[in-house]
Every structure is written in C-alpha cells, then in structure tokens.
C-alpha cells in the first residue's frame, strides 16, 4: 500500500499493528454491517499517519476492499493519507494533526457516560506525540472527570519524524508521568501478544478511572532494515525494499 502510493508511514504502522490486532481481536465491539452503530466501542487513532495499519486491519475486518487499499493516498480514495472519519467506514476520528485524539476520546467517553452506555473508548497515541501540550491537558481532564470508560495506549517506539525521541525531545518515564496525572498505568512489551491481551483486559476492567497501557514497541517491527530506523518513519520502501520486507514478514 505504502509502496504503491510512494508515500506513507511504514515504521509507526508496524510498531502499532500488534496492539491493534489484540484490541480488535479481543475487545472492540463493532458491527461491520453497521459502521455507525451508536453503541459501538470507539477506536481513536490519534497518530493518524499510522493509517496503513488501520486500513490493513479494516480490510481484514471487512470494512475495506483490496481495491480500497490500492487507492491509498490517491484522489477520491476512501483511504486518505491520514485516517479520516468522513472518508472511511470503521474510522471514528479525523486525525493527522498530533495531540488531539485523546481529547476527542474524552469527549466520546463523556458522551457514553451521559447516555448510560457501557461502550468504551480506546485511544492510541505515539510517544513523540506526548510532546504536544494538549495531550497533558487531556490527561489531566480525564483524570479529573474520572472517566472509567476511557483507555489509552501509548505506542512507545522511541522514534519520531526527524530522529529518535531521545534526541528530538526526550519524554523520559512517560508511564510515571501519566500515572502522576491520576491514571492507572501498565507497561508492557507491545509485541508480546499474550501481554497485550492481558493488559487490554486489565484496562477494560479498570472502571474507577482512566487507564493507560504504555507499550514498548519497535518502530518498523518485523522488517530488519526498518527496525529502529528513523528514516522509515515517513518513507515508502522502493521495489527492492518491498520485496525484502514482504519476504521477512511472511
């Protein structure tokens, strides 16, 4: 998809995909034949550049066709460059500008509480994204409002657009920081499926306040030359790289 489009973000998609598979496989209550079902669980992909991961999953679930994926980033395609709720069934948020998704998710959570609904809102943000001040506004507000139906997943892949997070603006012990804002927090290996499933179940059952999973991941996971390589944050693989990547992933 990214290769065909000649643009996109493979690194942050591969770091997030195991977490998303675990989430959709064990938690998300959605209806493929009724994408706008009001009582569905929400998934807010705040790091909207990980759209290849989202579209791949939505394809597996039946929301998107192979032809939809092939149209990624082209004029008129339902697969916009960054995930967009106005363009794609199964997408609950229009992302692309970092730092906004958790606030949006808080709004969804508050609405669910007002409706007396048991639906959950799951939000995924990147670690570089926590450099945005709005994330901390939202963390503070969610804790203050004691939303037990809001669940955050931080994709701690240690790389952002220009370079490693530690070089651009180290965010340090992000789990402790989120915890200090009044959230229950667990840290896991974001590629250990058993750990993922257990942590998601823990977060789902934690209903006295907001819960966060800080998932330590590898950017470009599964493709040797992309792993931990900042140059594959926002770059498409060439023909040769694509062939090697697909072989390694198969």
């Amino acid at each position: 998809m990214v290769h065909k489009a000649g643009a996109g973000h493979p690194g942050g998609s591969l770091s997030a995909i195991d977490l998303m598979v675990g989430l959709y496989g064990t938690q998300m209550r959605i209806r493929v034949d009724e994408p706008d079902w009001p009582n569905r669980d929400r998934f807010i992909m705040s790091k909207g550049h990980a759209s290849p991961a989202v579209y791949s999953l939505l394809h597996e679930l039946g929301f998107l066709t192979k032809a939809d994926l092939d149209g990624f980033r082209t004029l008129g395609s339902v697969c916009q460059g960054h995930v967009d709720m106005r363009w794609t069934d199964g997408v609950d948020f229009s992302a692309g500008s970092l730092g906004m998704g958790l606030s949006f998710g808080l709004g969804c959570s508050l609405a669910a509480s007002m409706d007396g609904s048991d639906r959950n809102t799951w939000v995924m943000i990147g670690d570089g994204e926590t450099q945005e001040g709005q994330v901390w506004e939202a963390l503070m507000a969610a804790s203050y409002h004691q939303v037990g139906n809001l669940k955050l997943i931080v994709d701690r892949n240690r790389i952002q657009n220009d370079d490693f997070v530690g070089i651009q603006m180290e965010i340090g012990d992000v789990a402790s920081k989120i915890n200090s804002f009044g959230w229950a927090v667990r840290e896991i290996d974001g590629h250990d499926m058993q750990a993922i499933v257990e942590a998601l179940a823990w977060a789902e059952s934690h209903d006295s306040g907001p819960a966060a999973i800080v998932a330590h991941t590898v950017k470009g996971k599964g493709v040797s030359f992309m792993e931990d390589n900042p140059s594959f944050h926002g770059k498409a693989p060439n023909d040769d790289e694509l062939a090697r990547a697909l072989e390694e992933l198969s």
Partner: protein, 312 residues
C-alpha cells in the same frame, strides 16, 4: 456567580439562549474557566450534569466538544473570543474538517472589551473563522438577538462560531422582533435609498444613530444588522448596491478579513460599488473605555456619518 447583567450585552443573550434550548438533552455546555464571563454559568446552575468544566485548556475543550458531537451531542463551548483563537487549528482540523456539529462562542470580542487591553481584544476572530470551509460565523448586536440566534443553532447541524460582546449596548430588538431573525439573512433595521450602512455587533446601534442624524438632513439611510458574517446574505448586499449610492461597512474588528472584506469581495466581483470600510485599522488596541477606544479607532458616530456623506 456574578449577577447577570440586565439586558443589553450580547453575552447575556448567549446565556439566555442556552437556557431556552436546555430542554433538548443533546445540548451539552463546555467551559474553560470563563463561564461567569461568557454567561454559560446560568446553564451550569440549572444543568450541572450537562456542563463540563475543562479548566484553562481551550485546545482540549475544542476536541472534547468534537468527540461529544461525534456521539450525537450538541456541544456549546465558550471562552473569550481571543482564547478561541489559541485553538484555531483544533477548530479547523478537529471540528470543521469532520463537519462536527459544535457551536463555539467567543465572548468579549473587539476593542469594545475595553480596559483589559489589547491582549483581550480579539479583532481578527471573524476573519479567522470565515476562512474555514463550512463554518457559520455570527456576530449579533444585542442580547435578545443573540439569544434567538443561539436557539436556532440547535437545528443548525454544522459548526459555528458566535462572537459576543462584553459590554452593554442599547437593545435594537424586542422579544417579538428578535424571533423573526434568521441565520444567514441580514436584518433590515431601517430602510432608505440614499446610502446603506451594513454593520455588526456593537456598531449596529451607532449606525442607527447615524441614520437619525442623516434623516434630519433629508438623507434616507438603510441600516443592516448583518449578524451572520458567513454565509453572507449576498442577495441583500447586491440589492443594496443596486439601489443606494454607496455602502458603508462598520465593524469592531480588523478591516482585514471581516464583514467589510466579505461585502467588498462579493460586490467587487458581481456589482462594483462605492464602499467605505470602517473597522480597526491594521493595529492593536490598548486599555481604555469602550467609547474612548472606538473614538481612537475612528469608529465613532461622527466617523460613520462622514463616511456616509462622502458617498452621497
């Protein structure tokens, strides 16, 4: 909570309007520590379960509103006009782009805000929000018209920005006449064929005074309360251009990008007309009384009158 101002300030109308639509359970009010100022505090008093305090954090507030709207709520989020601007990109990307039904109210707009000084005097909000696709931009002139237009937002079903003013100005509507207002339709407060004044917000009552003065000299003046800046009532503007000698636009806002710009850009491409655009020249305000500041910015009655006479 501060005592409600007795009639006149458009921000009071916002508070009244919210109470009039509170019967709809979808209505949710969001505050950023300025509910007493924007007057959403009256809704909070009666409906605390549907009022969400978000602290001094406007960026978060805009996206919380967006999330609520995505789940079928109709959020009304308010703060000072100037602080909505802090969240401009949140409004653009998080609310307007996904076409979410969020209604933003920026109170204390314009230099009329007064003694707080230039940091609080938003003179660019109307211009900013006009540029966003699908965004409705309102700036009513008194409390009763603000209440009515706020009520109409309940069925508006697209994002909007309403600027209200801090300070009282004379009422130009009564309960009955305010009910005839309609979003997107300019309100003709006085009809005449010699010259037309198109004004918004706190400048409308000054336009009415100018019309009185000109009337004494036998000059008949149309006065329009253009409470909706976007979508502009182009039909009305074109009609005025055809039958009057010229048009004066008046706004407590930068001359760049606001009501005057909207009128001029419409007429320059459809029916070139002599126009005088009165507003805040390309400069910031300062501390002072409302009237003193309007005088400083050449937005006094005498300035509007002079502009009208130049067009005759």
């Amino acid at each position: 909570m501060s005592a409600p101002s007795t009639g006149g300030a458009s921000r009071d109308g916002y508070g009244t309007g919210l109470l009039r639509i509170a019967h709809d359970p979808r209505v949710v009010v969001l505050e950023a520590d300025l509910g007493k100022s924007t007057k959403s505090c009256h809704f909070r008093d009666k409906y605390p379960d549907r009022t969400i305090s978000l602290g001094i954090a406007e960026q978060n507030m805009m996206l919380v509103a967006a999330g609520l709207a995505s789940c079928g709520k109709i959020p009304f989020a308010s703060t000072f006009a100037i602080f909505t601007e802090r969240a401009f990109e949140q409004i653009r990307n998080g609310i307007a782009r996904p076409e979410l039904n969020v209604h933003i109210c920026g109170s204390h707009g314009g230099i009329h805000t007064g003694t707080d000084g230039s940091s609080a005097q938003s003179i660019e909000d109307l211009a900013l929000y006009r540029t966003i696709p699908g965004m409705t931009v309102l700036h009513p002139c008194d409390d009763l018209s603000t209440a009515e237009l706020t009520v109409q937002l309940l069925e508006h079903n697209q994002p909007s920005y309403t600027r209200t003013a801090r300070n009282k100005t004379p009422r130009l509507y009564d309960e009955e006449s305010s009910r005839s207002l309609k979003i997107g339709k300019g309100s003709i407060l006085r009809d005449g064929d010699d010259v037309a004044i198109i004004a918004c917000g706190v400048m409308v009552y000054k336009a009415m005074k100018v019309a009185d003065i000109l009337q004494a000299d036998g000059i008949s003046t149309t006065v329009i309360d253009m409470h909706t800046i976007k979508p502009l009532d182009t039909e009305l503007v074109s009609d005025l251009a055809r039958r009057c000698n010229g048009i004066v636009t008046v706004e407590d806002h930068s001359v760049i990008g606001g009501l005057g710009s909207a009128v001029a850009s419409h007429l320059s491409t459809t029916n070139p007309t002599r126009i005088k655009m009165l507003g805040v020249d390309d400069r910031f305000g300062e501390s002072g009384g409302s009237e003193e500041l309007l005088e400083l910015m050449s937005l006094d009655i005498s300035d509007i009158e002079a502009a009208c006479r130049e067009l005759l």
